[in-house]
Symmetry: C2
Subunit: 286 residues, 2 copies
């Protein structure tokens, strides 16, 4: 179902590629039912916009499928407020969706356009590895709900880094958004590009409050939900990096091993086996 007809009609720009991303958020899995509905509305759109940013694209159209246990008008209004404020901010048009009764769940689909999509499988050996913003804030907030306002905001209302994507889209040789955690997501780039990566822990930008937590390394390397961007650039392009972007490592050859991510702490390799994260392949080196 779409607004006003069986389907929405689009006239995509014939000179651009279209990118499409979709995410489902389920109550009490991806967010708490008791969370502020305005932040649920914001986040349910933000995660898909973040995927569009990771492709170096500009979002254009969105679909919202909302499954609600009952029609709580106050909840709906608050949800739509958070959703539509973010839509408006990124000049994205809601073109359709579906509303059904059932256990609370939200599916958002976003379509965007770009001259040339940036994918995960095009990182080159010697490229520099860059991240935007600070990492680990969302995971810190999840485990320390009352400690830091900025970290809480990062968890509840992440801002998709479309600003960064716009600035680096000509520069990035590969890109991904950090939704599963830095090691997992950088591993996705390495696997897809058939390369390995080495990163220096002390170069990763973090909120200083996190450093005091005994689990800080876990949050920074494996904490999901940050929705920052991780991308690679050619080694000669360092001077063109925008503000709020930090070089944290370099792409290297896999040698004879399987592609993976090696983490150094002040130039010394550290074991990351005990750091639980999804999708990680152990880095093989002699």
């Amino acid at each position: 179902m779409a607004i006003g007809d069986d389907a929405a009609i689009l006239n995509p720009d014939p000179n651009l590629q279209m990118v499409v991303s979709t995410d489902t958020l389920v109550a009490d899995v991806h967010f708490k039912s008791s969370d502020n509905p305005t932040t649920i509305g914001h986040k349910s759109l933000a995660v898909s916009l973040s995927d569009i940013a990771a492709m170096g694209a500009k979002p254009k159209w969105a679909l919202l499928n909302l499954t609600l246990p009952d029609l709580d008008q106050k909840w709906c209004n608050a949800f739509i407020k958070g959703f539509s404020q973010l839509l408006l901010k990124h000049e994205t048009q809601l073109i359709g969706g579906d509303t059904t009764q059932g256990p609370l769940s939200i599916t958002v689909t976003v379509m965007g356009e770009t001259e040339q999509a940036i994918t995960r499988n095009t990182a080159q050996v010697n490229d520099l590895i860059v991240v935007s913003g600070e990492l680990g804030s969302a995971a810190f907030a999840l485990h320390n709900p009352r400690k830091n306002k900025a970290c809480n905001a990062q968890l509840r209302s992440p801002e998709p880094r479309l600003d960064v994507a716009k600035k680096v889209k000509k520069l990035a040789t590969s890109m991904i958004d950090i939704s599963d955690g830095l090691l997992a997501d950088l591993s996705h780039i390495c696997e897809a590009s058939k390369v390995s990566a080495v990163i220096e822990l002390t170069q990763i930008p973090i909120n200083t409050i996190i450093k005091k937590d005994p689990n800080w390394m876990q949050y920074v390397l494996a904490g999901g939900d940050d929705y920052q961007l991780c991308f690679t650039i050619h080694i000669d392009d360092e001077s063109q990096l925008p503000e709020d972007c930090c070089i944290i490592g370099q792409i290297i050859d896999t040698g004879e091993g399987v592609g993976g991510v090696m983490v150094l702490n002040q130039h010394q390799p550290i074991q990351t086996d005990s750091i639980a994260y999804k999708g990680y392949q152990h880095f093989n080196h002699d």
Copy 2:
């Protein structure tokens, strides 16, 4: 999330319009959890393909968001079988989606292309009203689960009428799929086009077994889930109608009333107030 990257990349045909439709099916609302998963897979795609058919478009790409209570491999395989058989039949490519844990629910988004989308708001006074296939079968099967195999198939595994859409796309002046029931869906055309409609009950094609049921009129006029097409054509184009399409009435002026649907039974107007259906506006005439 999309297969292999943050988002799927499409290169739409620059000479065509794109249409997008999305539907969510929730367990024990839109289907029974205990239904055959192959038919659930089929139906979850069929309802969105039906919307694409109603726009006179050809489906090209699909997204599948699947929320599952647990990873039951046997159930998943059967679901994917039903889903992918229908995808293959209509040469539609699965380009992405999301898999999450939670109460069973399925969101399918289909994108299609067409030279010129057919909408609901372009029916003209004097146009003939046409339906494809037989109506009321799905509703009959819902209330009589063990009586008729063909009706059961219509309910569990409806075939989206992309075949009809392809044949009438140059002919139809407006079109909709019959998902809510004939009166409700034809009313949508009338409201959007600011016209009224008069239909003759005896002209509506039905499975003869339905006629023996005391509620047959309800099934035919207000039974949802048929996923046949209802469309209008210019009065001169009658001879060009393909097989399996029946003229059931004509578009008329609203006069001074609000647009609506008048039903005749052997040329005599009948009361449809007692027939429960969604979205219907009572037909006003003196």
